[in-house]
């Protein structure tokens, strides 16, 4: 949905000291003998950030650092325990309906009805976002063609598509609804280098053409460096650093200069690849 005039000068996202803990703190007397108290996990710890309209902002962090929790809160799928989060000036809890009109989300796992075709899934999405009439098929075809997806896949069941193709359909679906704020949670994970490049080009061009704001969670440091205007490094639910990639490298990569990976390692004490290896094990 297009941004209203009254929303033009507001930040796309303003997060003020939000915290989120999973696992309720239960009182001992409420527990039955066969239920043990789970240790609560602090996913976000007083996180604050601001995303300017029309920018691509990256969130770098290891698994379990709180990136996806932050994205889910902004997508109105989770409520924070404390603090406030505004999307174009609308609170994600009290103004969730308004927030939803502005956003769309691409998650790491492609969420589709697997027996339905890409066209049927995208038509469903279009209906939920106020379109779906004549001309939708043409728009879908143009979008998929731009992402390098063969048009003969449009009517096959999703389960017959490769992981990369499914992710491209997910990205095309999010663009179809013309969101003012696109929340991308590791959108290029699992894509081959060529597909990854096509998606990255598309993100850049969408930002240029539609002035859309993108919040991008990524493991790919090179992707963050190339695509993002600003980057936040997050670990254990806390923002460790924020700035342009150049600023982060200058401030945190070490005296000899270096890369964004060097900056990330010095800030968190680990490499993103280590985390990926742990995940695979």
């Amino acid at each position: 949905m297009a941004i209203r005039v009254s929303e033009l000068n507001t930040a796309a996202v303003e997060v003020d000291s939000i915290s989120k803990r999973f696992g309720e703190l239960r009182r001992a007397h409420r527990l039955t003998p066969w239920r043990k108290a789970k240790t609560p996990k602090l996913a976000l710890d007083h996180v604050s950030l601001r995303v300017d309209t029309g920018r691509i902002t990256g969130i770098l962090g290891a698994n379990g650092s709180g990136k996806s929790t932050l994205i889910r809160i902004l997508a109105t799928l989770l409520t924070p325990d404390a603090g406030t989060a505004l999307v174009f000036g609308h609170d994600v809890v009290t103004g969730a309906a308004e927030v939803r009109r502005h956003i769309n989300r691409v998650s790491v796992e492609a969420s589709f009805f697997k027996e339905m075709s890409p066209w049927e899934n995208m038509l469903y999405a279009a209906r939920l976002y106020g379109s779906g009439g004549a001309g939708t098929r043409g728009r879908v075809e143009a979008m998929l063609e731009r992402l390098g997806l063969p048009l003969d896949t449009l009517d096959k069941p999703m389960k017959q598509l490769s992981r990369g193709q499914q992710q491209k359909v997910a990205i095309a679906r999010s663009f179809l609804t013309s969101p003012s704020l696109l929340l991308m949670d590791e959108p290029t994970t699992g894509l081959d280098p060529r597909s990854k490049r096509e998606v990255q080009d598309l993100v850049t061009s969408i930002r240029r053409e539609r002035a859309a704001t993108v919040l991008l969670c990524t493991h790919d440091l090179q992707e963050a460096e190339v695509l993002c205007d600003r980057v936040l490094v997050i670990d254990h639910g806390r923002v460790l650093a924020e700035g342009t990639p150049v600023e982060l490298i200058r401030a945190h990569a070490g005296p000899d200069g270096g890369s964004l990976e060097d900056a990330f390692m010095r800030l968190t004490g680990k490499r993103l690849e280590e985390d990926e290896e742990e995940k695979e094990e």
Binding site: F22, A110, S111, F112, M116, R127, G130, S131, G132
Partner: protein, 278 residues
């Protein structure tokens, strides 16, 4: 502004029906298996009634034709009611299983539109399936429907829709709040409704507490009323008390279930239950 908003919601409402149509078409083999299962279940009840005479009951002792019709109407209606109930109650389970639950809950539409869209799709599909099974019954059994008052049966059937939707929406809260056990709990609710609602027997045979629960179940009035209309020609005027009770139950159950679903959604978002899986 209101017109645009209404158009938006109606478009999404149509989207849910369209989505379910596509899913039923894509899962046609599964649907065919379930249809066969329902048909076989109803037929077995019909043949059970046909075989009552060989179980020591003389035709003179009981009206076997009436007994058969009584059981078949119960079996057919239960097939319809349980299917619609199942489709609504399991809408959340299905989305969780497919991994689309977060996408649907993130959409800029009212939850009422989501729930009513699912209900409408379930009703259309349930009526189509029950009609197919009904046709098979008419073809296979010599049913005496000479006394039937179809208008009265239709009025009760239509009035039963509201409380049925309410019960379905209430039950769909279980998989929303309990990703691991919600589905099984919904099955348990369905089983209890079968026991207390007089599907194959009058609820007067139930012991005290179950009898009272049967009086509170809207399905009891649906089954009683439709049976009376089809077996004994209950007039439309005579059906009005049942219609009134069902509509009153619907007026209470539908808004209450939607409100409770909203509260459950708030809790699910607080506890992080809207995930792909438990």
């Amino acid at each position: 502004m209101i017109g645009n908003s209404l158009r938006w919601e109606l478009n999404a409402f149509a989207g849910f029906i369209e989505r379910q149509k596509n899913l039923y078409r894509r899962y046609w083999a599964w649907e065919a298996v379930w249809l066969l299962y329902n048909l076989v279940s109803v037929l077995s009840i019909g043949y059970l009634a046909s075989g009552l005479s060989s179980l020591g009951l003389e035709p003179g002792q009981t009206n076997l034709q009436q007994a058969q019709l009584y059981l078949l109407v119960g079996a057919l209606l239960w097939t319809y009611l349980s299917m619609v109930f199942f489709e609504i109650a399991f809408a959340i389970t299905w989305e969780r299983w497919e991994g689309t639950i977060e996408y649907t809950f993130m959409a800029p539409i009212r939850r009422l539109t989501h729930l009513l869209g699912m209900c409408a799709a379930s009703l259309i599909y349930g009526i189509a399936r029950a009609a197919l099974i009904g046709l098979a019954l008419v073809f296979l059994f010599k049913l005496d429907l000479s006394h039937a008052n179809y208008w009265a049966a239709l009025a009760i059937f239509a009035a039963a829709t509201l409380p049925l939707l309410g019960l379905g929406i209430f039950t769909s809260i279980l998989p929303l709040l309990s990703p691991e056990k919600g589905e099984q709990m919904a099955f348990a609710v369905q089983g209890v409704l079968l026991l207390i609602s007089g599907v194959y027997y009058p609820i007067t045979v139930l012991p005290g507490p179950l009898h009272i629960a049967g009086i509170l179940s809207p399905l009891t009035y649906t089954l009683d009323g439709v049976r009376e209309a089809l077996l004994h020609g209950l007039s439309v005027g005579g059906a009005l008390p049942d219609v009134g009770i069902l509509v009153a139950m619907g007026i209470v159950l539908v808004p209450a279930s939607v409100w409770c679903f909203g509260r459950a959604e708030v809790r699910a978002k607080r506890l992080g239950l809207l995930k792909r899986s438990g």
